[in-house]
């Protein structure tokens, strides 16, 4: 990847992330539509810098369509009301899933055979992420965990403020 591609990748990534944050945080639907269009343009730029030109064209068209849907006159606001019982059911289901995963982690085992075939060569990806760039992978996991915990905390604070 030459320097022009690298600059394009980082600029497009910034536009994509800022557009995504705009969709999440901006108040009016017109501004959110503009943010969605910006996110689509950034996504197309990222695809282009990753040598995926056809995906870039399709993504640009689809996300401009999404922007039109969000900013268009057919948009209606719907206040969601979820009963406490369904929240408890969801929490119990998540706890059951966690218990199942813990059981599998303690009792299960992985096959030790090496499989490096497949269209994406996932063995090479695993070696890159878990052997060569372990610290960066753990940083991504910490970022995702912090984002999920922050979103949950913000949600609970909003519920408490109601």
């Amino acid at each position: 990847m030459d320097s022009l591609h690298a600059i394009g990748f980082y600029v497009s990534s910034g536009v994509l992330i800022l557009g995504g944050l705009g969709v999440a945080l901006m108040p009016g639907r017109d501004i959110r539509g503009l943010a969605m269009a910006a996110a689509g343009a950034g996504l197309a730029g990222v695809y282009l810098s990753l040598s995926a030109a056809f995906a870039a064209i399709v993504a640009l068209v689809c996300y401009l369509g999404c922007a039109v849907l969000v900013a268009g006159p057919g948009y209606r606001s719907v206040e969601s009301v979820v009963s406490p019982m369904w929240r408890q059911v969801g929490a119990a289901g998540a706890a059951a899933l966690l218990a199942l995963l813990a059981y599998v982690a303690f009792r299960g085992d992985f096959v030790t055979a090496r499989y490096s075939a497949g269209p994406l060569d996932v063995g090479a990806v695993a070696n890159l992420l878990l052997a060569h760039d372990t610290l960066a992978t753990e940083a991504i996991a910490a970022l995702a965990l912090a984002a999920a915990a922050g979103a949950a905390a913000a949600w609970r604070m909003r519920d408490r403020a109601r």
Binding site: A52, C62, C66, G74, E79, I140
Partner: protein, 91 residues
Amino acid sequence: MTPTLVAVIFVAGGVVAAGAFGAAWRRDASAAVASIPVMFAGAGVAFAGVARFAAAGGQHLLGQELAVLLAIAALALLGLGLGIAGRESAR
């Protein structure tokens, strides 16, 4: 500073996190649905990045195909969600 697969995965994780935050933060269900294409965009970036950097010899287009599929699915899902919301609010 040449982008690597790690940089691509960082960007993908950030975009997915922004979309998830929007879906959880918004009280308006239509606005929450509008955040789902952002999450799909992050997944598409990850797939395209894996297809770009992990392909050893020859062209491997599965990741790009999945990115295209995710973009189309995002548009369809948003149209369906906003259409249902419009019908429900019109009653």
